[in-house]
Symmetry: D2
Subunit: 450 residues, 4 copies
């Protein structure tokens, strides 16, 4: 039997807290899970610094990737049972042709992520999407070897789904659209592990009303409220979890810490110290290859931080301490009207003895909860289409007042981060810095810069 | 106000997936959570290698420690509301005197754990209980500084609860007995994160029927079945999760890997290589202090393994690969009757090219699900007492046929671990090793050595 | 001890699927639950005909009433712990004075409901609010006897909370406002029993951010998103459960059935038949007293329907059959533009052999999901107030784009109901009525009248 | 297409709180659900008087019947996917032949139940199994008409599955054995609605390890602990829910009430009173037909009780009041050693003014949680078989110490029920009956007769 069609003699399952079981039916999928590149995702937390606020959220990208696979598998099952193609081009689902490429793309869509991905990329100018494509298509990876065994062009096909250039929009939208297997899994999973309820929506019902059509995936109109509820859940998760100020403040510390390390180890003497971060040197110099990248995980970084906490460089040492021992910065909301106050605040912070470059930051958190298709956007979004009984399509926000209220509107805030010492109230009367703290605190009211 | 009585101006909460919220009311507790020794528990997984079988089980000892604190807090609330002491020695609960010491002991009971605790201790002869006591009582730790601020003797008091020498048995049994806050939290939490249901029992009901008496803690007889159900849950979790053969096989690899590393780096040349595990050297030589110990976490070990995977030593490299990339050993059950076959099997494994010292192991997993008090035991267990309406006590197994069935009986199995290559079926016909594999496989039937 | 202060020697609990346990601490509350008027609520379903669509929703008003009590109890606990009054008029919570009246009002707020309340009231012109007040204040009820034992004016006080005339707005709003114990319980409970997820919101968090102030109850601004999420849940439950067209169609049948019965039994001969509905006669004539009312429950009505199903009157018999054996009417949405078509449709239905008076109906379902206070409304709503750190209040819809999108806007639809026979497709070719059906069906497209 | 193969153009679903969705795929099944005999199950509570103790347990036999159908459907799906027959007699699953008969039997297995089945049968000597068979095979029922349309012998086939005489033991054991779809649904459902956790077991895992073999259904040995856990859950539900003394005491009242009514209405004058229970007369005389039976539901009985509460017969009136207004009897455990005390107690109760015939009772509750096959039993049980890797079978209790501990042992107790007035403590000093109460109370200690 061709490798692409090889079924396991008996279904294999992984117990999963969100989906109960993950069902593995293809030898290809099992082989991909067993590659070292995929196993490495066990050592990279899904939510990065958010686990420092929501302590249960210690789950990894490994777990999430299996979940995206499982949701995709269920979508395929439903499409095969209810909307099987009869003649080429009829806009229905061609399971024989599309299932395996969809499943592989779902499983591997995050394989290029590194530790604390967002921050790491920002500082070292890496790109997890580029690296994902590399892992899929470079002949030396175990992932590529498995994919290649399906067919020589299969690695590129899977990569093209993730890059949204695959010809069948049904497959692309399954993995990547405003309501896709990726988002549905992370909302449910992050809600489960944080212990919050905002991310809960009715997955079974959404899978039930999902259907293929010529230009991608649509939802039966009878399921409108279930889709609406999913959009609301997503909105809430961003507001309550992903944009949490304390979590963002730990990201600020992390990025300043990596910046400081690059600067410190650019000095050749320092670079020869015991405990120098050899594995990071290629990134400090921006001369890294795929092997360098695949050696990194969350533990590598925190192991360096533990070394650095004992460093002779006071800033490197202090920032490492603040990160490992969880001493977040504080923050206030500012707006374009109050932004002009920031230089004054930074001055006060410098006067209080902090290097403003490493101890302050501004950080914007904005999300577009939903938008209709807009050809003028740089990357136009695939809008959510509802299908009426007679087959007509209608865009979600045109029938949902709730969705319409947030369509095309960014939500979030911009914050100025600073050391919590600036808010100290218990300074002794004779404290030399007292007037500085008082001047600083006058600018803050109701969590906002005034 | 005395520090020991200092309440937070407003209750602080941590969102928790198992208990919904963890409520912090004392400044002391908040300060303990913020110590570096406690924050370090965020980097040590609760279940070690079990997350390699149950992928959701990536939760840490930090999370569990908060949970044990919360259950203890709820027990104290119930005791205070329903069983407050009136006169000294009446066998009821003295909340003013005992609450804080109970809460601190609950929170800190696991603070001495290191990475992959069980295996690490076995190989390096460390003892997490000794280290816990050290962290509580050594003046240089942040934990000790917080405890000392309560009173000079407070650190010793908290330590004595954990060591079971504290005079009030109610406090000791709350934290450590056959049905204590520790076990109740880990069963519920491990069930939640693995996604299994075996560990689920009725916590609210058990807390409701729990009550203090002169010699410790008893349970109203009306709650007998809830207690029975807890014992059953515990039994099931051991059988299904904690004793899982694949998880034990990953522990075998881990311990052999650490053994090999100690041997390899005992050679001075190797010890000077780049990437040598400086942080482990004190343990290789068994000359470590508390600071050395507190630098270690899960990430430190896996970072070394990533280095070792590229080592020139083939065994060190291969075992690192097997651990990081999850290539478990296989195993079979053996008994005292079949044990004599093991040397023969080890010979075959050597012939197939594996060093039996590093590639085979025997491992017993036995648990005593419940036992009545037996003065002849080395460490007699506190039996579970049920209280009748008239105040009489009756031991659990004497009224529960189910509990009686497993009382005093060890459950578990003993297994022989070996490389999965020994079971390969797809060896080419001309394979030189074929007769070896065949000879080996003849000894295995229905997962058992014959 | 005064009866009002009498605590149970030991807390009593009722196991509850939504709140886990309901805790009873006052003798008064236990005595109220044991009255015959309260026990009668066990025989009246909470959701009426909705259980004919969501089969799990068979829970009763008894269960819900206990739930409203429990939520109120938890609110009082939180207020007492965190916001106790110090001086009269400080806007904080006076637990000694207010707890018992709040708990009784919560428990008894629905005590005047009868079977299929909404429909029954509409047809027989009864009013459950008036009856609630009567049950509380009439000396012959068991409820009144319990309340009177607290103090002579206590029955009136409890009634005034339910009627919103009680002087302390904190107590009134706890039981009755846009976010009160009543709504919070029914959303969670109806979601639980229907098995849908829309009604799920974060009760614990809402209770945590709730606080008393001078003019009632406010919510800390940090909990804004939890409150917003509650409003969304409420909106979804109305759209998906409470307004379900099939459930409304069964209500239409029920009301037509009761109408027909009144007409039929107004004939004296019929009124003497075996199985005549003696218990309903006082309502047919609108000459009923409280005793008549309290004899009715769901079972009384369905028992009559079972008799009527065998009646000689074909309409009474057929409608009884349609209700008991669940044969819903069909429906289409119409608007003010298409309303003029209805008489033509009714004609076709008459031609097909149905009495349009009993076999057709129009029915509007509209809900106001949230509104700010508007003095011009007949019954202005208590708006939801958020409290900022400095104590300022801010109305919910002014900070939540989502809530704003539905504020003051009615949601729902208007539908025309008719026999499902009108849509039959399998009429034999020679069917005389065929042209009638075809004419009828031409008016319907995508579930809408055209 | 033949009716038996007729699939719905699109799967229909019912939202279910336990199974999430119930999937209907055959026209036959939908037609059966729509019969009046099946709809009648909506008016018969699953747990009878247990809802008077666990107030959430108001679910009906309708809901449970759908659940048994759904579990059976999932078993068939699994068997079809993994164990399809290849040659007749190979011991695997013949889905084409067996699915529909299995589904119909699952759906209809409880169709003969009446209101408060257990008690009603006991008093009126009816038998729900006989009636089930009658409903399936009598030509006048709607159920029979649907079944007959499949084939003339189909009604008898379905009936034979329920009567365990159907030739294929796989189908019989699916519906009726020690681990069948019936029990699995009611344990989960009763746990859900009572809000207890004891009934929770891992349904998905059990369905996964279930498999057909020549003589019925077996379970893969790897699932032993899941099966063991199911047996434990079942045991706990009996101990904690089904055998609850208060629930049994309400059954005692109910049976005495029906007895009294039969006696009272055997007098012709009484039988002509307004409100006389015409629908029960056929049962009083034991001359009923199927139509008489199908007219009854829970509401019919409680409607009569409401009438009787106002009866001139003091015992009929008082027992009706005790049932409707929930005034349970009290009870004590007695044994064969203390049984001789009962006549003395009955004397005291008579002296206190109660008719012992109607106000006392003995009631045994015993369940056999599990047993191996024993040919000496009157109705030998199908034992639970585990299948080893090589196909050998092994009986459950021989490998599970827990199950072995309760195998073949009846659990439960025997209780003596009496009016709670006998325990009154607040009798005035001058109470004439005081010595009687004191004499009575001396016999009771720790809930047990002494």
């Amino acid at each position: 039997m061709a490798y692409r069609d090889e079924r396991l003699p008996r279904e294999k399952v992984f117990r999963d807290p969100v989906h109960n079981y993950i069902y593995i039916q293809h030898q290809v999928i099992l082989d991909l899970i067993n590659t070292k590149e995929f196993q490495r995702l066990r050592r990279i937390k899904q939510l990065g610094t958010a686990s420092l606020v929501f302590h249960g959220a210690e789950h990894t990208r490994f777990t999430h990737s299996l979940g995206v696979y499982e949701i995709t598998r269920r979508i395929c099952d439903n499409f095969k049972r209810n909307y099987p193609t009869k003649t080429a081009g009829d806009g229905l689902w061609d399971d024989d042709k599309e299932r395996l490429v969809a499943l592989c793309a779902a499983l591997l869509h995050d394989i290029g992520h590194g530790p604390y991905s967002h921050t790491f990329e920002h500082i070292f100018n890496t790109d997890h999407e580029v690296i994902t494509a590399e892992i899929l298509t470079s002949p030396e990876t175990e992932v590529n070897q498995v994919l290649r065994a399906v067919s020589p062009e299969f690695p590129e096909q899977v990569a093209s789904v993730i890059q949204k250039t695959y010809p069948n929009p049904q497959v692309v939208q399954m993995i990547s659209s405003q309501i896709d297997a990726d988002r549905m899994d992370y909302l449910l999973r992050d809600a489960y592990h944080t212990g919050t309820k905002y991310g809960t929506f009715d997955l079974t019902r959404i899978l039930r009303v999902m259907r293929p059509y010529r230009d991608g995936i649509a939802f039966q109109i009878s399921g409108m409220h279930a889709v609406e509820d999913y959009i609301m859940s997503r909105f809430q998760m961003y507001q309550q979890i992903y944009f949490h100020p304390t979590s963002r403040s730990m990201e600020v510390i992390l990025s300043h810490l990596l910046l400081r390390a690059r600067e410190y180890y650019s000095n050749a003497d320092n670079a020869n110290e015991m405990g120098a971060p050899y594995l990071l040197f290629p990134f400090f110099k921006h001369e890294f290859d795929l092997d360098d990248y695949l050696l990194l995980d969350d533990g590598t970084l925190t192991t360096y931080f533990a070394h650095w906490r004992q460093s002779g460089d006071p800033i490197l040492s202090d920032l490492s301490h603040r990160f490992l021992d969880r001493k977040p910065l504080k923050s206030v909301i500012y707006t374009s009207e109050t932004e002009h106050e920031l230089p004054g605040l930074r001055d006060l912070i410098e006067k209080a003895g902090f290097n403003a470059k490493y101890y302050t930051a501004t950080n914007n958190s904005y999300d577009l909860p939903y938008d209709a298709y807009d050809p003028k956007m740089k990357k136009p979004l695939t809008q959510i289409e509802l299908m009426e009984e007679d087959g007509d399509l209608i865009e979600l926000s045109s029938v949902s007042a709730l969705v319409n209220a947030i369509t095309g509107k960014f939500s979030g805030d911009q914050r100025f981060f600073f050391p919590r010492e600036m808010l100290q109230n218990n300074a002794a009367d004779t404290d030399l810095f007292d007037p500085i703290y008082q001047a600083f605190q006058q600018h803050i009211h109701n969590d906002t810069l005034i």
